[in-house]
């Protein structure tokens, strides 16, 4: 198993774990963290693919894309967190389940 394959498989696994957090866990903060873990997984795959070129310096194009992606995912996280706080102050709920008033 090469180094690239290790990280590629880790990316696939973390993507599924993040998806679990996004789909299964009801709390909105868990869903935001799930999205972030999925983003990290995608970045892992992209950066491992950047190492496929021969030589010590990897491909700079995926690196630039991941850099862009990290900043955008932080912006999306900040906006989601602001939305969660607004939902909480308006309704007192921290989930999207309608029956779960007491959350």
């Amino acid at each position: 198993m090469t180094q690239i394959e290790i990280y590629l498989l880790a990316g696939a696994a973390m993507f599924c774990i993040g998806l679990y957090g996004l789909v299964v866990r009801p709390h909105l903060l868990h869903k935001v963290m799930g999205l972030n873990v999925m983003a990290v997984a995608v970045f892992l795959v992209l950066v491992s693919v950047a190492r496929r070129v021969p030589g010590p310096t990897p491909d700079a194009l995926p690196h630039a894309m991941v850099l862009t992606g990290i900043v955008v995912s932080v912006a999306a996280t900040a906006y989601s967190l602001a939305l969660i706080k607004r939902i909480y102050t308006e309704t007192g709920a921290v989930t999207l389940q309608e029956t779960d008033d007491d959350a």
Binding site: Q3, V24, M33, K85
Partner: protein, 99 residues
């Protein structure tokens, strides 16, 4: 193949996966957030191992600084339930929260 460098890779990857499982198997919200902050740190080691110091730098700055602060602030906000605005502000002063 069995070089110590590859062992470091395997160690990092195992920790990343275990950490992400723990984040979502955890009942306590605060614990999840702490584990998520830890994940940000360990991911920056993965970037180092993948020869991407640019990304490690960004991850260290954003993960350790801004995202952690935002998440912790949200946890604090979600805990501050039924605290009226005036008390809310006093609690933040730390001056008259017992009044």
């Amino acid at each position: 193949m069995n070089s110590p460098v590859l062992w470091l890779d395997i160690l990092v990857v195992v920790i990343l996966i275990l950490l992400s499982i723990r984040i979502f198997s955890e009942a306590s919200l605060f614990k999840s957030v702490v584990l998520f902050i830890a994940l940000g740190l360990f991911v920056s080691f993965a970037w180092v191992k993948l020869a991407a110091p640019d990304i490690a730098l960004t991850e260290a700055a954003l993960g350790a600084g801004v995202t952690g602060a935002l998440l912790l602030d949200t946890v604090g906000h979600l805990r501050s339930r039924n605290v009226p605005y005036s008390k809310h502000r006093h609690a933040e002063d730390g001056t008259s929260s017992n009044a």
